[in-house]
Symmetry: C2
Subunit: 395 residues, 2 copies
């Protein structure tokens, strides 16, 4: 099985250590699966300690052998439980922590309190922002993984044409997308950092389903088939001449690909044709203008201006309280990575960023149309990683 | 769409309030999706405040209209963001919180710190134990939901016989199980409370795959197809005469059904036949002995005694560091609910508990066999909720 190359891990730890030192931190404890996988190559139960200089120590609770096989770190050792961490660190010469980092956006309160007790003199700093900024810039290896995910998405979008027929339920389409994804090697889940946000492999939203708002930090929600889930496909049967919005995501070796395509059996109404063409124009405009140095807020503004000029401003990226203040988001080990193409994200595009660009229009009680692809920021501009050429797929 | 009945919500809040008062708590804030769904019927973004007496207040950030439709609580109001919570509570006459509860096993540290700042005089107590004990006893409504999930599992286990052929990959079988689950109404995910534990709809583990240990708090792990996931199905092709362990879970209206069956193309070896028969005997023995008043530790001991007597003690519920100290777990809105049938769980069986009973044997480098079904504890003993009769399914 493919493991994360040694050089990747070394480089990531090194960049993190530079950031820790710059922030006057003695080190940081990394526990969350996505972050720990990023820095070690394994999600076996463990606590990683990264000092601002010196060797990182992976303290494994379960399963040591597998962690040693999967991770290229030099120091992968057993720790009986978290209470033994101070002693283990002491054995490695780490006996005073004045200021150290934790992933405080995701670490549960009880674990935070445990760290407070075990290192009673330490001041704790949230390093999630530092980590998210490191992870924002992708290596060639990481981009390769996203391309593999993109290839599976394309297979899914192509094969699913055979399933989309009038009378089929959203859930049947969703189920087939799940089947194709797993068959081709989707790892089985997509991670999302935001707490209480929950991510499924697909949203299949036909007609009015596409306009149902939910808690999710996304321009679309859907009914789902229960308030307990409150998103995605439901038992609604698809009909001819209505937009069928399909947001589809898979992950390979941890890395996520994320696309949206609009399908229709027959023809869209003129309103939806126009809205879809507008989403495509905005998408292509932004894909052309985006390059290193361009601010995320500026890209967002360009999109809103264009949508407003076309008379669709109220329906851009949702409507009412369903409207979200972004038109794109970073992807990687999580689906809600940096950068966020949003006026609220203070940053410019940089080489090596990978993001999903997803201008969409949601018409109340009617449905959703849009176009989402994944892009790598290169010195010359954007390089598309997703493969599906058609933006509106007619059955 | 089916919403949680008003009487359910009222009863749950009332039982929680009794427990809050008994613990001298002025109230508790509930944020996590599964808990909030339990007490309100909605997972729309919101903070629930349950005072020890008086009306519960659901403060919704997104989406108010849907929350009001889905929840039968009387007080479902908009709150702009979490900073406004003290003011909102003040408006409702709640202006002093001396001691209050939070779900500190799941609440991220940053949110905990926000609560500390906003209610600077309040002492915070972890109420996750209280909530988990309330949720442990299921109502008739909840049992109905688990039965619906069980019906889907049975459909999946029946249909998948057509797909299981020599040469098919574990991932193809997994994908078909995903497809069937969604088509039949699986809500799209199963919630697990344990942090960093990650749950997929199935583990399909053929031959030696069934003996691969991973981080997961489960007797089986599997290779998965990447260290980034490190569990479940991989690209391994299934062969004749090897055990194919299929753990399958679905959720309906939030409630989880969870089963394990052993398949084989052809015949199992005598060793596996004997191990499987032993898991079945332990399963039936415990299903017969379990009734209100029996301690969880005692049930576990009975199982271990039997396994040891048959010479399989070292392989019962895993081997080496993969061995888990339980033979069953509560199911409900999460897959890791109380009771735990374990020496480490201090409790007795009570009427209304629902748990998955899963004696399994894992033979190193060889595979897994076992038998898992879901049971309701009634005054007369256990009532099986899962439907599949065959314990060893030959193709």
């Amino acid at each position: 099985m493919e493991t994360v190359p040694r050089e990747e891990i070394r480089e990531r730890i090194s960049r993190f250590q530079t950031a820790l030192a710059a922030n006057d931190l003695a080190g940081a404890f990394i526990l969350q699966n996505a972050d720990r996988f990023y820095f070690t190559g394994t999600i076996q139960s463990a606590v990683l300690f990264v000092p601002s200089s010196g060797d990182a120590i992976l303290m494994v609770q379960k399963n040591l052998k597998r962690a040693q096989l999967e991770s290229s770190l030099d120091t992968v050792i057993r720790v009986k439980n978290k209470n033994h961490i101070p002693q283990v660190l002491n054995d490695f010469g780490v006996n005073q922590l004045a200021t150290a980092g934790l992933e405080m956006d995701v670490l549960p309160a009880n674990l935070y309190i445990e760290f407070q007790k075990q290192f009673s003199k330490c001041r704790w700093v949230d390093v999630s922002g530092i980590i998210r900024k490191l992870r924002m810039i992708k290596s060639a290896y990481e981009i390769e993984q996203i391309k593999k995910a993109a290839a599976i998405l394309h297979t899914g979008y192509t094969e699913i044409k055979k399933i989309i027929r009038a009378g089929v339920t959203e859930l049947e389409i969703d189920g087939h997308l799940a089947m194709i994804a797993r068959r081709e090697g989707h790892m089985g889940m997509m991670r999302m950092r935001g707490w209480n946000q929950e991510m499924t492999h697909a949203h299949v939203l036909a007609g009015d389903s596409g306009s149902v708002i939910t808690f999710l930090d996304s321009p679309h929600g859907g009914t789902g088939n229960t308030p307990a889930m409150a998103q995605g496909a439901g038992f609604r049967r698809i009909k001819a001449n209505e937009p069928i919005g399909i947001d589809y995501g898979v992950a390979v070796n941890g890395y996520i690909g994320d696309q949206f395509r609009t399908y229709v059996i027959g023809e869209l109404s003129d309103t939806f044709k126009k809205a879809h063409a507008c989403s495509r124009e905005i998408h292509l405009l932004l894909a052309q203008e985006a390059k290193p140095g361009v601010s995320c807020a500026q890209l967002y503004d360009r999109a809103v201006q264009k949508a407003t000029k076309e008379g669709y401003g109220d329906f851009f990226m949702g409507y009412g309280e369903g409207q979200v203040p972004f038109i794109g988001h970073g992807i990687g080990l999580e689906i809600d990575e940096y950068p966020i193409i949003s006026p609220r994200f203070d940053g410019i595009l940089e080489e090596g960023m990978v993001f999903a660009l997803e201008p969409m229009f949601v018409l109340p009680q009617q449905g959703i149309v849009g176009l989402e692809d994944d892009y790598l920021v290169t010195s010359g501009g954007l390089e598309r990683l997703t493969l599906t050429e058609q933006s509106l797929i007619q059955i």
